[in-house]
């Protein structure tokens, strides 16, 4: 494999990628063995401060339901399928008497059970740092060969099992710009982020999760079309310096890939390459930001305790997540 530095000049925009990587990479910053990346910005001080944001005692979920009505249209990722292996109708029909597994006569007792089959990134999700590679490496220079059919040997999502409890800030760019939904192809610039934050009266601090609302999920809900994989508004590649400057720990948005699509340079998802692979920033995608957007607009409070720990799936390249904003 060619090393990272070999990409320069290979395609339109390669020099930008190389420059951002050179300037903002966090490889080695938190030790050669680190697997948590920018989450290292979040220490006990940040967690405790974030908890103090809870004043009203209200929780708002930012997650889509997991079911067959999700945004996937077949192909690489299917929508979540939850299958019942025991039901109330079985109970009613007497089919659970005796109970299975040698538990004896039912005597009125019945139960339901189920099995979930879902691509971890089919719905609301976190990308693990093992989700993306660049020239044979993942975050912190780990070899891509550590991510095998047996799972991610490095930077699996389980490394975040005690993370994602942090200050969350909603930047409702769509609402700030007076739009129901930003146009697919609209690249959200650092200026957009700053202007939105200023208008909202909120500032970004070290260790924050920055949650960017484009309105796309709401615009497509229930008639998804090419929502998953198609053109989308999203973060410009050029927010990379801004993410670095603010010591952002995590990014999330209401589109399938956080980044503007089509991309601004001739590379697929270049912000993932810079921010996820090199800065170690996990991306949250397909977040449902309708309710939180309305809630923040109503009370004017755009910061909250985010509690969004992933499932500790050993070696997972991502995880479904029920991301809660707690105010």
């Amino acid at each position: 494999m060619t090393p990272t530095s070999s990409a320069a000049g290979e395609f339109r925009g390669a020099e930008v990628i190389e420059d951002y990587i050179a300037r903002f990479s966090n490889w080695g910053r938190w030790g050669a063995g680190d697997q948590r990346g920018a989450m290292n910005h979040v220490g006990p001080e940040q967690v405790a401060a974030a908890a103090q944001l809870v004043q009203q005692g209200r929780t708002i979920s930012m997650s889509l339901p997991y079911d067959l009505h999700g945004p996937q249209s077949g192909g690489f990722r299917a929508n979540p399928l939850n299958m019942m292996t025991a039901t109330g109708t079985d109970h009613l029909a007497g089919a659970q008497d005796p109970l299975p597994a040698g538990f004896g006569p039912a005597k009125g007792f019945g139960f339901a059970d189920d099995v979930l089959v879902m691509p971890n990134q089919a719905g609301t999700q976190w990308d693990a740092l093992s989700h993306i590679f660049w020239h044979g490496k993942l975050y912190n220079g780990f070899d891509a060969g550590t991510v095998t059919s047996a799972g991610a040997g490095r930077c699996g999502i389980e490394n975040y099992r005690q993370d994602f409890v942090m200050r969350g800030v909603l930047l409702d760019v769509a609402r700030h710009l007076g739009r129901d939904c930003l146009e697919p192809g609209y690249a959200i610039s650092p200026d957009d982020l700053d202007a939105t934050a200023e208008a909202q009266g909120v500032e970004i601090r070290r260790g924050d999760a920055v949650i960017v609302r484009t309105g796309l999920l709401e615009a497509r809900r229930g008639a998804w079309g090419d929502y998953a994989g198609g053109p989308a508004p999203g973060l410009s590649l050029h927010v990379a310096p801004w993410l670095h400057e603010h010591d952002v720990a995590a990014v999330a948005s209401d589109t399938w890939g956080c980044e503007v699509r089509p991309n601004e340079i001739d590379l697929f998802q270049p912000l993932h390459v810079v921010a996820l692979v090199h800065m170690g920033i996990p991306f949250g995608e397909i977040w449902d930001l309708q309710a939180i957007g309305e809630d923040c607009a109503a009370d004017g409070v755009y910061e909250f305790l985010l509690s969004a720990a992933p499932l500790p799936i050993t070696g997972g390249a991502g995880s479904p997540v029920n991301a809660l904003a707690i105010k």
Copy 2:
């Protein structure tokens, strides 16, 4: 189907069940359409107060990793299986160039992806109120026939999508009794709970999640044997009055079923029938309480912000969960 009241006298202990149901049932208490049960004890006041428990900025996960090394031994429920549909080794071998789905030449970009297959109750989990039936009914009198192969039409786990942010209290009964692990068959009594709470210097309040440590998971970790489905220490049926008296909102433990096994009367999981079906208390099972047990023993603080929202699986009879204690 026979109505609930018909069970009296049918088996040894039936009259106890009937008595407890008669005295403690919450059916109708929060309205005929309520699907959240005892979680109604948790209001904004409780959530805000729980957040104030966060002083040190530390999170402790109470969830087992989800992988093939879990406690299931095959049969009805298998261990979680996470399968990679794209890997770093593919990327290294050049098999991701061009990228799939028409995304064009890789130019150094690579990715991993995965699909999770797991019984919702294979590992650390919440039972939904649709998980258990009693004589054709689930919580609040809903008909068991609403829980079909298409999922739970009533009391699916998605009803808790904004819940389980609350005060959590660990009652470390094993440690209080000076045991690494309570014996299978040991029935934890209300007196045990009270004595443990008193020794720990903590009180139970309305809307709490009561988390009971028996030590069994740690004793069996990695050599599970009959951990899943076998004899276990656990809550006595006779904690039902105690749960009622304290307005407990949720219960969790480090065994497969929370209740003592074998059961104390001739009915399978009678506390589920009283507390889950009739009081509307969700049960958390297969929680890994080793780290939280050690943490609480070390700092003497047995209360915390619990953040343990389930995945919003539409119609789910349960959900995997990464339950966090935040101190």
Copy 3:
């Protein structure tokens, strides 16, 4: 549940269904415990005779590949998903050395492995006799309550584990009528079947599998649209007497449901009710009949040894199948 006889007059066409059921039902014909239905028409004599049809030593598969490019469009049934749990790229990257499961150093050895997730009826398939119910009963009067979340307690597909080795006859109705594809909504009549058979110079005998080509699969291949679940040409309800008269043992076609859609009376899939539920005739669906159609047109031989045993999935309501015509 209402008994079968109560349906008369309930909807347009109910009397036809009742009449056909009354005249053609095979319930009890092969014993009260029979679970193989019309397959009882196939005895050793038929199997041996069918084998004698093999003259050229050529096999033609009538099955679609099982993969994500199949006809399902998401929703109730997804396309087959085969996931690799070990790959050659892992082997190349050295990730299989040592081998898993304690098998020691690889020394050059490597392997691939995979897990299949598929709805049994997502692609080319057999319906089991437990697939369809009529007023609470399945074939032979078995109670529908025997088909639970644990599988089909009666008439599961495993009952056919040694069946579907028989004479197969292709009736290429589309080609006979000079059409690439019959129109959706076209009801294939007994006269169509007879005329096709006569033109082809083949007769239907007791115990045959009658395989009817409409051309629809070929017309939709790769751009499936509403192939699965949409309007389709297919067998008229009124072939029921013809199926009875010819002692047909199995029916298959190149559409998702064998029957003409929309149906001819105000009942969903009425031929399934008469022929599958009452006559005990299994239906093969989504068969790929392009190659066999061309083969038979080329050599003028429309009969062959059909070898199409299902997977013996215990309690399965159906099975994928690689149906081979052997000439």
Copy 4:
């Protein structure tokens, strides 16, 4: 990667492997693009002749049922799990009225449906030629890098979609040696095969599937223990010359890996390396040979038409199969 020839001298027995590979490899024999290996021994003449073996019109399945009672004990491969997505109990409870997918009022109609989740090699199965690698190559010298998370790009099981219709010969070595079950570790020699064939009065011909009975599956049925992955009787590495001499097209047995375990040299599954990777012989494993063993002993006929086509799973490294002996 080191080339194949580099293995010599690396471990005890390496020179045997190298010798057998040098003498018996079929790489290139049927063209550089061939993906069917020794199946090329089976031509129309062989198929037609095999069909003539059908005299009695009887079929015997050599496949285990696919269900949770199979031989897998968790871990890498789980037992098959068939999940119902629609049931008769739902129908009885009225939960299928109206029908799903817009199909309207049920009017008495009901249905069952199911989804199968199974490792392709969990039960009775065929290995594809893409299942095993040797020093970075699979059969015919294809690069192991063609077998990715997206499936086997070369030698996927779909290449056999019209194969495995052939003469099958049972060599009942256990019965011939007067044993219920050969001992784990017993290496079946060419002499054993010849003596068994002679005693049975059957000869091996070009293009045969040789099916070897050890009795192990029957001995372990229902109390599987370490059946899957543990010590086993099976073919000696030194049957390789015999397989070559007889132009055998396929091999199958009633153990998990066909080969004797522990292996005779210091290499895992060396006969797979020689016979599958280099000779292109597919292996059938976990076949249930009890019934066919009894049948052949009863009528003295040890040859039959084998019909055992795999599911055409695109890129599959193997396939479940319902292997039928037809006499």
